[in-house]
Symmetry: C2
Subunit: 112 residues, 2 copies
Amino acid sequence: MLTKGGCPKTALSIKDALEALEGRWKLLILFSLSAENKRFKQISKEVPGITDKTLSKELKSLEANKLIKRDVYNTFPPTVEYSITSHGKSLEKVMEELHYWGLLHRKKIIGK
Amino acid sequence: MLTKGGCPKTALSIKDALEALEGRWKLLILFSLSAENKRFKQISKEVPGITDKTLSKELKSLEANKLIKRDVYNTFPPTVEYSITSHGKSLEKVMEELHYWGLLHRKKIIGK
DNA sequence: GATATTACTTTCCCTTTGGATAGCGCTATC
DNA sequence: GATAGCGCTATCCAAAGGGAAAGTAATATC
């Protein structure tokens, strides 16, 4: 195990990560954007249960942390395209591990 | 990339994982317990900022998901020992990846 | 007999979150 | 000229979350 259990410095960096990703939406939004660039409405359709207000807030937070990029095109009706940044892509492994663990967890606890 | 971006089934398992781990405390508690078994007060000291009420609630949720185990010894004052289960240990890789990403994120965004 | 100890639970209260709904600005379509 | 489309923002209000502080049980210690 590379991650030393209980080490305070390690705990701090885990805390940093959790703060940037807090809530139940951010990783799901990032995951949806990791497939392809999307517009606001598209994301809201692909992330079930999220409201416009919350989505708008989450997107701002993700942008502030440079995990996604926002491009506005001067058209009508407005076109706003969101894309994942390289920093956002660096979360791929985290999402992968979460994915594997989620499967395991469902088998073990949820879906018995 | 093994995790296919945008795949709905993958998104579902990520959602499962997020639901079991939601909030900013659970992973930190698990991380602290991954070093050694601990009692209530010890945990509350090692997870800075958490209140008794919240810790109590989080521990219950972790136990319900079989991520930790709770052992009560019939002593006075009471002794209650918490330990991580094998299912909890299966989160090691998630924590590792979060740790690495947290370091990266701090370098890139927080600590400039 | 006052105090400390542990692992909580309870109460009070304030802040944050989150849903529902409506609206705006401009164009194209019916 | 009514309506739909997009990407939000604003408002209102109910519900949930979370902190502070005190209480409890039984024993040991001073």
